[in-house]
Subunit: 342 residues, 4 copies
């Protein structure tokens, strides 16, 4: 039997990526696609690369008969998500891809997003959707909040190290180099080709990026104490991928060994041999994460590198991975496509 | 039962693309990988993006036990292919991706490649591997010669029109805009990022490109008379994709109707509505071809556009499509992955 | 003495390019910068790359004291230009960079731009601003209308050939590959990095591009009869540059000789040796045009290639070249900067 | 009077950049160009973007009459430089752009470059060529060793802060995002467009980059004690530019004030307002450096950002700046070209 899937917010990049993945997924089929402003359009007119697929016409959310839906992906903009999801059937399985339900503490949400949370009760139910760390909770969950793409990259790099107490929690610096698709299909000047190509720059520097809320929450949990890392992303002239360097105090060999052990049975997490570094070219379009560790000159200093595709493992691939568990399917189903290179 | 596949020349881009496709192909498995100069290396060290796959170590061609192989892809450099393939078992199914066996006429080969053909007998056996036009011959073939990527793009644009006599054979101009991966993983100055990014230029202009030999052969056959088209490719700062504009004398509506009819049952060929134009962004990483027709101002002038991925439908995807037929598998098996966008 | 320059529409790419050029121009200085919606801002906040220059604050057009201005560049959007320029002092020297005054025939304007011209009287005064072909008229002009960037590329390729009657006027096809900055700093989905990088496609195909109006006007004039060429531009993942291929009926050697002779004294037009082709990498950021001619296989067929930088020679550099003549300065003053490569 | 300039190693990117700059320099003219393997070629055939310039034909170094040369730039590969320069006339003014003479301590050279220095005496004479910090020594020098491009970026960020004792010398981390032209015009697989575009990765991670030798030397000098920073560069899909983030312990406001004060009279160093961050798009093709400071969440933590063009301010522009001083010219002569954007 094939699970019937609805996608809300199907006209954005993460919506398109969900369709791309599900198109090759033997256990899912796209039963409904919603995009309020583009309702009535054919998906092939919004995304010509999906022209060969037999997909439902875009509708408004109201038009969907959710009784025929097994699981709903919400790829809506932030804030919209917390307005829409409370109105969905209470027993509908939902994976949210927005930032709205990632922070368990409503005060933290208000701090980072500048306004009170509008669905505090629903927040209590949300399971944080980084599969590798919350697998069992997700398996039994009705409502999962997918992580941020930067957050995922940092968590894969460091959570096992915080848990094992192998790094100094007070001196962690995360420097990420990120492709532009993470910003979505929005019309902003800094996302234009003419601005970005040959022009790279940091953004949200100085501790202002909202994914810091996720880092604070999850790293503190992993370390068993309050952790506040530094984080600086740089927007690159490239479409897909995040490459993270985590500068830490810790023994490189021990860190490498801890990651190898933590991830040895993980189908999507690949720890490179000691001293090797990952590249975004090696994970593009896939659900894979490549990790590497290098020892620095200064004794006790190491750098942990990680690379993933922000639209796949950082967002829509992760969402399908979670949905697989929630639907009782094999966790890797539909997700083993090899990266596209070159 | 899964077909056991050998890939000769596995360390190039088309070799890697074959592995990428076969990794998700339910009817094939990679049983042997050869790359003479890199024999002994693990594939993950040559192509880190394939690190998650359980692949055989690279060997020399001599080390392969072909009795255990059902079909062999030759992704070797030109000339090497005609030296190697005659030495393979005479009953081994082979799909060649090089240019060596595409031209039926040894004199045409010598003209375009500047040296006599070294395996004239084998050439006689070769079936030209553009599946959509040679489907039945390929189904029964032992040895198939895959087409060039530019050739494929032009043939999909025009063969049905030549066959139907809808265009003037003496005034066809093909202008193609091509990504750099078509040139392979070779160390040439003009393929460096610093030379190519923000720098595009024609190459092999003035009727010098070797794929003209293929155009001459196939267009003449389709038209039932000698045809010599003009062809100018431009190398772009991009990795994958070919976008072709064919400037022709013919009635645009009739051309569009002819393409729609010719391709209506083709799973990989998608004719856009009249007046719409294809983009490489819509076929990247897939086996799809998008075609479009526009009427020009001058009465009786039209332009036929086509876009495909040179490494997939233009090379390795086409090769797998042929292999599917040769092995009695479903033609589309393993090839329905959706394009990667963005 | 230094000419005092005003730039209207200083917050767009052509405005910024004017400032870049004038910053190194010994005979000009920027005296006023207008940008209605950004009035009050410092230029360094609109264009941080100009931060080191001592520039006037952006103002509205009304705030400029034109009595202190020697020449005014109008880099305003189309239509806005024809509303603003009639209100400027009648004796002010003006170079317009918009499309508003390029077409001498108001009916042609209405046909291509879909509305009646609003300043027909002023249109009569406008001199068409392609310096190499209208040098003497420009020297004495008060009001010059700069050409379109695609138009300039095509005219440099073909005007001397039409004038000499060396090509068949009825079968010319122009295929141009253009960088994205020609579309300006406008927020459109197809100009986003995530859409354009690795995704190229034709636009305004089928004889719809507005620069056809300029081709019709100038080619007909050069040929002494009505000429209607075909023209298809393709938008590339690159910022600056236009590469044009003109497919023509004519003798390649004669065409090459005619271009060499026509341009032998031109400081900005460089005809490559017979058979060589130009690249955008060789003219980026400069006022240079590189041209090349290749003979095709078919007797009497040739291709004329041209490359220029759409923002410099195609727009702002051309405008300064015209302004130099109008102000009695040396034509090349401030314009001999070498291209930027890589 | 115009200084007669020789360029050794004129066929590389830094050689071409020297020609580009000198072409607009009123006080210099190119009198000799050497490139051993390309001797006899016209510069326009090696670098078509310089076709409009009247340049001497490439010769071997031996063919140059140095008695007619006022200053010689050596843009030779590392190691070659230390073999060639000792053979030049002893009173010839020389600016070396290689890494050969940057490290004052021969032991440090041997450590980082893996072999003994071959011109130890000449090393003693070399003045370290970062103009802003060694202006007076350079003015009187005969032989100047230009800095590395990464080194320059880091030194501009931090030298005034080390001098003023405003940052903790033991916890500095430099993370740089660098364009590919810094690797030169060399044929390496990782520099191919197909490998680099959409694929970014760190290199020389784990304290292995040779520019660390320069950081150690200059930061220790500035701090008055031994300093060993961390440094990780990431190679980006872009041609020109370095963006550096220096993660430091120090008071952000104090750091910003110190940089503003240190650079207030520097024509090429521009400190952005507190909290603003630089972009490579704003310095491309120019001799400018943009710097910014952001306060981090953790009290006493700050990040210092810097952006420059590796080929201009990081190499050839810096070399001309030094040459201006050595020749008694205005320091900024020929170097005030505005950045190219977009």
């Amino acid at each position: 039997m094939t699970a019937k899937i609805a996608i809300l917010g199907a006209s954005g990049y993460t919506g398109a990526e969900l369709v791309r993945i599900i198109a090759s997924h033997p256990g899912m089929e796209v039963a409904a696609l919603a995009a309020d402003r583009k309702a009535g359009m054919a998906m092939r007119d919004v995304f010509p690369h999906l022209a060969h697929l037999d997909l439902p016409t875009l509708v408004t959310i109201d038009e969907i008969d959710f009784s025929a839906i097994d699981l709903c992906f919400c790829a809506l903009p932030h804030v919209t998500s917390q307005q829409v999801i409370p109105g969905l059937p209470a027993d509908l399985k939902v994976v949210d891809l927005s930032a709205d339900f990632r922070l368990r503490d409503p005060a933290a949400y208000e701090k980072w997003y500048g306004q009170p949370h509008q669905a505090v009760e629903l927040q209590k139910e949300a399971v944080y959707g980084l599969t590798e760390f919350y697998r069992e909770e997700i398996r039994g969950a009705r409502f999962v909040a997918g992580t941020g793409c930067n957050a995922a990259t940092g968590l894969f790099s460091l959570v096992p190290l915080f848990r094992a107490g192998l790094i100094d929690p007070d001196s962690v610096i995360l420097d990420m180099k990120v492709g532009v698709s993470g910003a979505g299909r929005s019309l902003k000047e800094n996302l234009l080709h003419a601005e970005l190509s040959e022009g790279w720059m940091p953004y949200a520097a100085g501790g202002k990026h909202r994914h810091l809320g996720e880092f604070d929450q999850e790293f503190s949990l992993a370390a068993g104490r309050e952790v506040r890392v530094q984080f600086t992303p740089t927007l690159l002239p490239a479409n897909r991928g995040i490459l993270s360097a985590a500068y830490v105090q810790g023994d490189a060999a021990a860190l490498h060994a801890a990651l190898v052990e933590a991830y040895q049975d993980e189908p999507f997490l690949h720890v490179l041999p000691m001293g090797q570094v990952p590249s975004t070219r090696s994970i593009r379009g896939s659900n894979m994460v490549h990790l590497g560790v290098a020892a620095e000159r200064a004794k006790g200093r190491a750098t942990v590198f990680a690379a993933l595709d922000n639209l796949t493992k950082g967002s829509s691939g992760q969402a399908v991975q979670n949905a697989n568990l929630m639907l009782g399917l094999e966790e890797t189903e539909g997700l083993m496509m090899a990266p596209l290179f070159p």
